[in-house]
C-alpha cells in the first residue's frame, strides 16, 4: 500500500487543536532528554573520571593538613633547644674548639693527663665528599695511666658532646694511646617540597635527645691553656 499523507496548514491546525494539552508535557520531556544528554551525562562522566585525581589530590591535602598541624603544635623554643643539643652532638662542620674542650673536660674530670696529641684536620675549605657518609676529625693522643684511667677517660668522653668514637685503643703499663674520631656532618639543604611529609620528632628521637641533654657539653667553656706537666698534674689533682 502506497499511502500518502498530506500535511498542510489545516492538518497542522487540526492536530494542534486536537492534541493541544499534550504539547507542554511533550516539550518538557524532550527538553529534559536534551539537557540530560548534552549536559548531565557528560558532566557525570567527567565527575566519575576525575575521582582518581580527586582522591590523589585529597591525599596530598591530608598530608598538607597533617604538616600544618605538626608545625602549629611545635614550639620554637623547644625546637631551638633540640637543634642546639643535636648540633653540639653532631656539629655541622669541623668543630676544633668543641673537640679540644671535650678532651680537656674529660681529662680534668677523670684526672688523666693528656700527653701529645696529633690532630688530622684535613682540608679546611673543601666540604666533605658525598660518598663519605659520616666525615670525622681524627685525633690520636697519649694518656698517662693504665686501663682504668683510660677507661674512665673514654667513659666520660662518651658522655660528652660532641660525639666521638674510639677507633683504636692501646694500653701499656706506662700509659695508653687512643685514636678518636669526632664526627661532623653539614646540615641538609632545606628544600620545600609541598608533597613531603613533615614528621614530628619521633619517640625514639625524643629519647635520644633526652639522653644527649644529659651529656656534658663543655662547648661554652673557653679553650684551656696548654700547661706543663707539673701544672697539669696539679690541676688533675
Amino acid at each position: 500500500m502506497n499511502g500518502k499523507i498530506n500535511i498542510d496548514l489545516l492538518t497542522i491546525r487540526t492536530l494542534y487543536t486536537d492534541y493541544k494539552p499534550f504539547i507542554i508535557p511533550f516539550f518538557t520531556i524532550l527538553s529534559c532528554i536534551i539537557v540530560f544528554l548534552i549536559f548531565i551525562l557528560p558532566q557525570a562522566n567527567e565527575f566519575f573520571r576525575s575521582q582518581k585525581t580527586v582522591s590523589e589530590e585529597r591525599e596530598k591535602l591530608n598530608v598538607l593538613k597533617n604538616n600544618l598541624s605538626v608545625l602549629q603544635t611545635s614550639s620554637d623554643s623547644e625546637l631551638d633547644s633540640q637543634v642546639n643539643v643535636l648540633s653540639s652532638a653532631l656539629p655541622p662542620n669541623k668543630n676544633f674548639e668543641g673537640v679540644i674542650n671535650a678532651l680537656s673536660y674529660s681529662a680534668n674530670v677523670t684526672g688523666v693527663i693528656l700527653g701529645n696529641f696529633d690532630f688530622a684536620v684535613g682540608s679546611l675549605t673543601e666540604s666533605p665528599k658525598e660518598i663519605q657518609k659520616f666525615p670525622y676529625l681524627e685525633i690520636e693522643l697519649n694518656l698517662t695511666g693504665g686501663i682504668d684511667q683510660a677507661s674512665n677517660f673514654l667513659d666520660t668522653l662518651s658522655k660528652t658532646l660532641p660525639m666521638s668514637r674510639v677507633i683504636m685503643l692501646g694500653v701499656t703499663p706506662s700509659g695508653s694511646s687512643v685514636r678518636l674520631a669526632f664526627y661532623y656532618k653539614p646540615f641538609p639543604q632545606a628544600k620545600f617540597n609541598e608533597n613531603a611529609k613533615i614528621d614530628p620528632v619521633s619517640k625514639k628521637g625524643q629519647v635520644l635527645i633526652d639522653e644527649l641533654e644529659g651529656f656534658s657539653n663543655p662547648s661554652n667553656v673557653s679553650i684551656p691553656l696548654f700547661i706543663g706537666d707539673e701544672q697539669a698534674s696539679e690541676s688533675a689533682l
Binding site: I29, C32, S50, I167, G170, F187, E194
Partner: protein, 179 residues
C-alpha cells in the same frame, strides 16, 4: 453583535489517561533533571580537583609562614637518624679490654693491649706457662659465649710464644677478632 456557535466541539480526540500519563512523566523528568543537575553541581563544587587545589594552596600559604620551624624539624629528624647510625657503629672497647683483663690470671702480666676496629692484640708475660695456658682456656670459654646478642670473640690466634732465659719469663702475643 456576538456570534454564538451552536455546533458543539465534539468528542475529544485523545485519551485522558494518556494525557495524565504524559503530564506525570514530564513532571518526573523535570524533577529528575533538576535533582541531577543540582546534585552534580554540588558534587562538582565539593569534590572537584579545583576546589581541593584551592584548599591546598591555602594550606601551603599557611605552611610557608612556618618555614623556620619546618627547617628546624628537618634538621632534627635527619640529625636523630645520623646520630643513631653513628651510635650503632660504636663498640665499647674499654668494657671489652676490662673483660679480657679480668679473665687473665693474676700470675700473668699484661704488657700491652691494643684494639682497633674489630681486631685486638694482647701481649702477656709470665714466669710459668701454666697461667698462660689458663688464660688461653679462659679466652676460649669467653669465645664460647659468643652470640648475636652478646658478641664476645669470634677468633683467637696465638701469634707468638717465646721465652727469655735472662728474665726467665715466657712471652705470648694473642690476636683476637671481635664479631
Amino acid at each position: 453583535m456576538n456570534e454564538i456557535n451552536l455546533v458543539g466541539t465534539g468528542p475529544k480526540k485523545y485519551n485522558e489517561k494518556k494525557l495524565r500519563l504524559a503530564r506525570i512523566v514530564s513532571v518526573i523528568a523535570l524533577f529528575l533533571t533538576a535533582i541531577s543537575s543540582v546534585g552534580l553541581f554540588l558534587l562538582n563544587t565539593r569534590f572537584s580537583v579545583a576546589s581541593i587545589k584551592e584548599e591546598q594552596t591555602q594550606i601551603i600559604n599557611q605552611i610557608s609562614s612556618y618555614n623556620e620551624r619546618m627547617v628546624k624539624l628537618s634538621i632534627i629528624n635527619s640529625r636523630v637518624l645520623e646520630i643513631e647510625q653513628i651510635k650503632k657503629q660504636n663498640i665499647d672497647y674499654t668494657k671489652f679490654i676490662q673483660t679480657i683483663l679480668d679473665i687473665a690470671p693474676t700470675e700473668v702480666t699484661v704488657n700491652s693491649f691494643e684494639i682497633e676496629e674489630k681486631k685486638a692484640t694482647i701481649s702477656i708475660s709470665s714466669p710459668s706457662l701454666l697461667p698462660m695456658s689458663d688464660f688461653i682456656n679462659e679466652l676460649l670459654k669467653f669465645a664460647d659465649k659468643n652470640s648475636k646478642e652478646n658478641p664476645t670473640i669470634s677468633k683467637a690466634t696465638i701469634e707468638s710464644l717465646s721465652a727469655n732465659d735472662r728474665t726467665g719469663n715466657f712471652f705470648m702475643t694473642v690476636n683476637l677478632e671481635i664479631p
